[in-house]
Amino acid sequence: MRYTIIGTASKSFPVADPFVSKATTAPDAEIVIYLDAPLKPDPARAAILIELGDESLAEHVGEGGIPNVLGFARYRNGEDAPSQLIELVRQPNAAEAAIDAAKAMFESAGFPVAVSSDQIGRIINRLVLPKYNAALRFLDEGLGTQADMDLTCKLGLGYPDGPIERVVRGGLANHYARTKALFDTYGMSSYAPPRQAIVAFNRSQGSGGSRSMKGQLGF
């Protein structure tokens, strides 16, 4: 299935990504992907995809949605390189044919797809951010050292990396932004930005960039 891409800036597909270079310029591509560009509905397309950040698909198409318009994001841990996972976002009235077409396109390009309803945080951030927040809180409370908490998760659960090393690597200021989006939407304390992320964010506002904060937090 042919796809065309409109727009360039993308967190999912950095410049020179093979997926982007294989896009067609043909005007009649079955799928249109919008990367940071305004949506133009077109019911003739098999599927239209909008890259999402922290916002919901409804912000682009309204709560009623458009059957062949879906959202998507390639999951990445903060400022880490994107993972292979595509979170495909659907609204209740999404056309199954559009979902099937989008899944087939991504999977044929080597991206496993998980379908999510139109929720802030989609699947992964909704589930892991509270865990990272808890780990950071436990660290403050002295439950264990960062090294022991990360080691426990790696040895005891087989995780490839520990929760604290992961959130620090992805950028604590970035973690602040992700958790704040969920907290503002759902109001649940488990999503509230943790102390360390607030500190990192505030410092980044004053000294330019979350990455520069990594080495200054003493982790």
């Binding site: 993972s83 998980a114 589930l127 509270p130 659960l157 990396d161």
Partner: protein, 293 residues
């Protein structure tokens, strides 16, 4: 400063965790006494342990001589008095505070004044368990991971009254067993379960709220985060009823809403969908179909 450990007792050694701990001790060269109330479960666990060691020989991880030496260092008993000679007794019995405290009282009566008592509890307070002993300074938390004979991590927790000597002796013993200890405070779930139980509940709630199917939740977590197992597959493995019990222990202590058992979990347990052991949980283990979306 730590004391010398020569003989180790394991209470609840008829169960899979206790049997695994006994193997860890015996494999490290400690004389090991497996204790349980049922001789039948002890015999069965002994057979399983020997089968495990036989496989280790087959895979070249042990020689036949090493295997025989380990087995000869293991004995079993249904008589708690037989633990009197132990320098270290590790309990891995039913996760119930009163029962653990009663066991400690019995061990106080039969063991020497230097013996150390370690609890493998995953959720209960070490300090509360130790309050059942006349010697709380000799009680320490020593939480192994299942299967203990394969997993090297041990969460080590001192209770409020645990002496430094007790903790360091127990810590050094775990290292002598080629395990990897980490130190945690005496808090519900220590590190592992304090992070895992609410996370697993959140995954159940995501399915219940229609965020994604069980299959999509697990795929997202495995592909996106690199976990070996998705949370719902993991709950199926440990048992949905076990997850409910963990929640019932955690929630009253922590009052953390994430630790409360999700309604879907309770409904599935009521329906007999307990996970792998019943053939169906969030996934079916006959047709591998998904359930719960």
């Amino acid at each position: 400063m730590s004391r010398k450990i020569s003989t180790v007792g394991v209470c609840g050694a008829g169960g899979s965790m206790g049997a695994g701990i006994a193997l860890v001790a015996a494999r490290a060269g400690f004389r090991t006494i497996s204790y349980d109330v049922s001789n039948e479960t002890l015999v069965r666990a002994g057979r399983q342990s020997e089968a495990f060691l036989d496989k280790s020989v087959d895979r070249g991880k042990l020689t036949k001589e090493e295997r025989d030496k380990i087995v000869s260092g293991m004995s079993r008993t249904t008589c708690v008095e037989a633990l009197g000679e132990c320098d270290l007794v590790i309990e891995a019995i039913f996760e119930n505070l009163i029962i653990k405290q009663e066991l400690l009282k019995r061990l106080d009566a039969v063991c020497s004044g230097n013996a150390i008592f370690a609890s493998n509890t995953s959720t209960l307070s070490i300090t509360e368990i130790a309050s059942g002993s006349r010697n709380p300074e000799r009680v320490v938390g020593m939480h192994f991971c299942l299967p203990a004979q394969l997993m090297r991590l041990i969460e080590m927790s001192p209770g409020i009254l645990t002496s430094g000597e007790t903790f360091s002796t127990a810590w050094e013993w775990t290292k002598a067993c080629n395990q990897i200890p980490v130190k945690t405070q005496d808090k519900p779930g220590f590190i592992l379960n304090a992070l895992l139980v609410p996370f697993n509940n959140d995954a159940i709630r995501a399915v219940e709220a229609g965020v994604a199917s069980a299959e999509d939740v697990d795929r997202a977590i495995k592909v996106g985060l690199g976990y070996k197992m998705g949370p719902l597959e993991l709950i199926d493995l440990i048992g949905l009823d076990t997850q409910v019990r963990l929640c019932e222990t955690f929630y009253p202590i922590t009052l953390d809403p994430r630790a409360a058992a999700p309604p879907l979990l309770k409904r599935m347990v009521a329906a007999g969908l307990l996970g792998r052991k019943s053939g169906r949980g969030f996934f079916s283990y006959e047709g591998n179909a998904m359930f719960g979306a």
